[in-house]
Symmetry: C2
């Protein structure tokens, strides 16, 4: 297939900061002229939010063994908030590094980790509370405004600082993942999407996972979670992080469970703690931690149609039942937050009791956990840890709004990060769609980030084509939410595309679309140049052609 | 690929009417037992609304040249409301039948049309107003209740009569299309979906269109519109109708325009009138007629970003402009209704000014036309013609509710029949998804029928795979709307599937799903029998398996 961008009309541009020594990358679509009765009228270029990082630079040559450039390292070279460690702190990491056998599968590490100087609160939230606008805040401000300097927008660096200080927005940016471009998650900004990848005991290799992660960033995934549960979790993660231009999250419990060979009742706080440090020092930007599923909620699980469908949640539930003790993530919450604050790793408080069927939506178990999550959120903020709150799950449309309202109230406006929600249970193989409906709605109501769902949800591990389908579907959900909530930059692209469509500027229409390649493939490459009617209708039935005549708008020149 | 129904667990059953000599077909999924610790517990079968007609009978052999059985003919054998004509009334029909050359492409007709006896009002609406429960009303009552006789449901035949009498529901059932099974369109019932097929000047054959129409009914299309604009429109339609178990609609203007070789200004009322009669006598069940786009609304088109994107609408707009006269569909509205009443053809008042971009949503042009449509609706009801109101189009999520509310108010609760709406313009190749989001929401708010959109929307004619993708996506939108509006039968299927999922009864899960073949293909046929965990996670990470343990629900026996 010919490249849609054959005329070089999709470019990567860099918008310079006036305050900091960096420029923010974004896509720019250069439009063709409108030609009416032979007269040319220029159309302004359209900037598009871009997550591809260096992969979007046409001259960039990627070497997976070297990783991508460490963008943010230079920004903090002389930053006195940090200390440079002279070795890794985690016992597990050091054991892995010492193992000769594992060197064959390991990324060739050339760095040592950083952490906060003792007694210094350096997270984005801590600095925001002190009134400091960080480079990361400036960066996200330029990104959210799509580089417009003549901006009427409310999204100033100062506004971002206020949102981060209040906990209403999160900038996940562990200094040990300097490859990631800063981005912001909060209800006042573009709705973001997260993609999940990860191998399992049943298949897929490190190479495949790295390839999927790069693919995800190129297509528009704002963040990425590595949910690997199979072999070589530590090494897989290292490869992904070193090649990942977007913030990366994990569920540390998965690795903890692997360390005890899947026996949940052998899990200990000490081992989990070491896993946190291991991952903080690798550069994970946010952790899902199922600390809200406390012991008193266990009886509510038995009342459900589909019990507990969260992996992390069910592991903790089993541990509590086997030990007859409180969730150790809950009892060690302050200690967890102290560790996370040292590396500015955000916490995404996991909803272990998210409903696994529309039947269980908004029930006692789900809402009971949400209340606990709100308490944990406040405690994390006291330690300047940035917080996301995870949400459902399977929820019929009429119960979505209640979810959002209760989350805002009980979790003090911390950003909501939801999986869908799926609005019905009856469409396995189409759950990207059942969930995009719910995702769009909850995004409109205020959810800040949507965790994508692929067509393989409930059925198997997604392949590359599934990842594409999931990402584009979620870019749609996020964008329609942006439109509905009137993000100041959202409708520019729709209007430019619709104008192109009405004027039969097919190249512009495709370049402005979410998936130019697929749109062009469906339309037919050979027809792209000059066809002043749609292929569905033929010339006599082309409403847009006739409509121009009716409105005396002049004939589009071929 | 092995058939998912390999164990014969998806059956077609027939539920007998107590009052009329017929039985209503529906699907029944026979579930396997739940087996906990070796103990068997039966799960009741689940009935599913079915649109496949005779194509769902496993013993049925289809001969496209004979057409499918004329189901409703026997019901009205002695019906004194009808007269049997001894020849076709339309000049055009008679000319086509006389043309030797056309016999090669014509369906071998063996019937002559019926119409109302002079002075008799026999439409479903007319009879409903007289307090008569017709066989068609009884049939739809059994269908909507999924055959449950122990029903707590409000959907009784008498309730249906009331809804039809008030114009809040439509049963499209031209007696000249007795092959179609009666179905009901109204906000109190299952949300229905319409599929569009049709050749254009640019491609596709009669065979392909008939194949697509049969495929549509098998997959779950509730009604079907033939939007052909290419060669042999009359003959294509005949083939489709004679093989179509669901009500069929058209836009008669398309054929009228073909008759004048695409020159809109040569259109005349006389020729359009003959086209209506031609199609009434072939058996079309509902007509889209763009009578609401009146002359005073033309200036509003020029103010839009994307003008008028309706084919029928733009044709009439051009005609009005060229002739400087009022829309002849508007000026001849009473006469149109008189014709439609004679054949009980429903009118679907077309929205010629539906917005073609999110920018134009809910604007002066769109809402101005909606008001006129409301007036036309009332006048049609006075003549006992059943009415649907067509709706947008491209509408961002935050403007959808207003659409529905205004339609209910201005169009007196006549059933709303919408195309999507598409919630963004930027995703060509994914407009089945951009529109499913809007369709689900507007269905919840009260829209009775959703016109499907395929991935090829804006790009080309859909092929068979696109039709499948469009239909399943719209079955999802309709179903999630049913769930959200609490249709009494809607959640049964979700709950049964979720229970099966939680108990690892994979066969039941797939048989209950909207597209069993695709779900099974993704899961992997070889694993279907006994795998008490999901392939995404592997046994140690299976939340559902662990969750059963936590709740002491007993182990599912393999």
């Amino acid at each position: 297939m010919e490249n849609c961008n054959s005329e070089g009309r999709i470019k990567k541009i860099y918008v310079k900061s006036e305050k900091f020594p960096f420029a923010v990358g974004m896509k720019q679509v250069i439009l063709t002229d409108t030609v009416v009765e032979g007269k040319h009228i220029a159309n302004p270029p359209v900037n598009i939010y871009d997550t591809s990082g260096v992969f979007g630079d046409k001259d960039y040559t990627h070497d997976v063994k070297k990783g991508i450039p460490r963008l943010r390292e230079a920004w903090h070279k002389d930053d006195t908030n940090f200390v440079q460690l002279d070795k890794f702190t985690s016992d597990y990491t050091n054991a892995q590094l010492a193992d000769e056998e594992l060197k064959k599968v390991a990324f060739p590490i050339t760095y040592l980790p950083k952490k906060a100087k003792k007694g210094v609160a350096f997270t984005q939230m801590a600095l925001a509370k002190q009134g400091i606008i960080t480079p990361e805040m400036e960066y996200t401000a330029i990104r959210e405004n799509l580089g417009r300097v003549d901006k009427q927008s409310y999204i100033t660096p100062e506004f971002i600082r206020q949102e981060v200080a209040a906990g209403r927005a999160v900038i996940p940016c562990n200094p040990n993942h300097p490859e990631a471009e800063p981005m912001i998650i909060g209800s006042k900004f573009f709705v973001k999407i997260n993609t999940n990848i990860g191998n399992s005991a049943l298949g897929s290799s490190i190479e495949e996972e790295v390839e999927k992660s790069v693919y995800s960033a190129k297509l528009g995934g704002d963040t990425l979670m590595d949910l690997s549960t199979g072999k070589h979790i530590h090494q897989t993660r290292e490869w992904i992080i070193r090649n990942c231009p977007v913030p990366m999250g994990t569920v540390p419990m998965y690795q903890a469970l692997e360390k005890v060979n899947g026996n949940a009742n052998e899990l200990t706080w000490e081992m989990y703690r070491d896993t946190l440090i291991e991952q903080c020092e690798q550069g994970v930007d946010y952790f899902t931690i199922h600390a809200g599923l406390v012991k008193k909620l266990l009886p509510a699980i038995a009342k459900r149609l589909t019990g507990c469908v969260s992996r992390g949640g069910s592991i903790m539930a089993k541990w509590m039942k086997d030990h007859n003790e409180e969730n150790f993530l809950y009892t060690h919450w302050d200690e967890i937050c102290d560790i996370l604050a040292e590396y500015d790793v955000a916490v995404s408080i996991g909803d272990g009791l998210r409903p696994g069927s529309t039947h269980d939506a908004n029930d006692e178990a789900q809402l009971g956990e949400l209340k606990v999550m709100g308490e944990l959120c406040k405690r994390a903020w006291e330690k300047n840890v940035q917080v996301l709150i995870e949400g459902p799950g399977h929820v019929p449309m009429d119960k979505i709004k209640e979810n959002m309202e209760k989350q805002i109230e009980w979790c003090h406006s911390a950003p909501f990060y939801t999986l869908g929600p799926l609005t019905t249970d009856i469409a396995p193989a189409y759950d990207h769609i059942t969930s995009a409906i719910g995702a769009a709605m909850i995004g409109w109501f205020g959810t800040a980030m949507l965790c994508y769902v692929t067509p393989k949800e409930h059925l198997g591990l997604p392949n590359k084509e599934d990842v594409r389908e999931g990402i584009i579907t979620y870019k749609i959900a996020a964008h329609v939410a942006d439109l509905a909530k009137h993000h100041p930059m959202a409708s520019l692209r729709d209007d430019a595309l619709s104008k192109a469509r009405f004027e039969f500027r097919w190249i512009d229409q495709f370049n402005l679309s979410l998936d130019p390649e697929k749109a062009m493939e469906y339309y037919g490459v050979e027809k792209i140049k000059h066809t002043p009617y749609c292929t569905m209708c033929g010339p006599n039935f082309c409403a847009m052609r006739i409509s121009r005549e009716v409105s005396d708008k002049g004939k589009i020149t071929e």
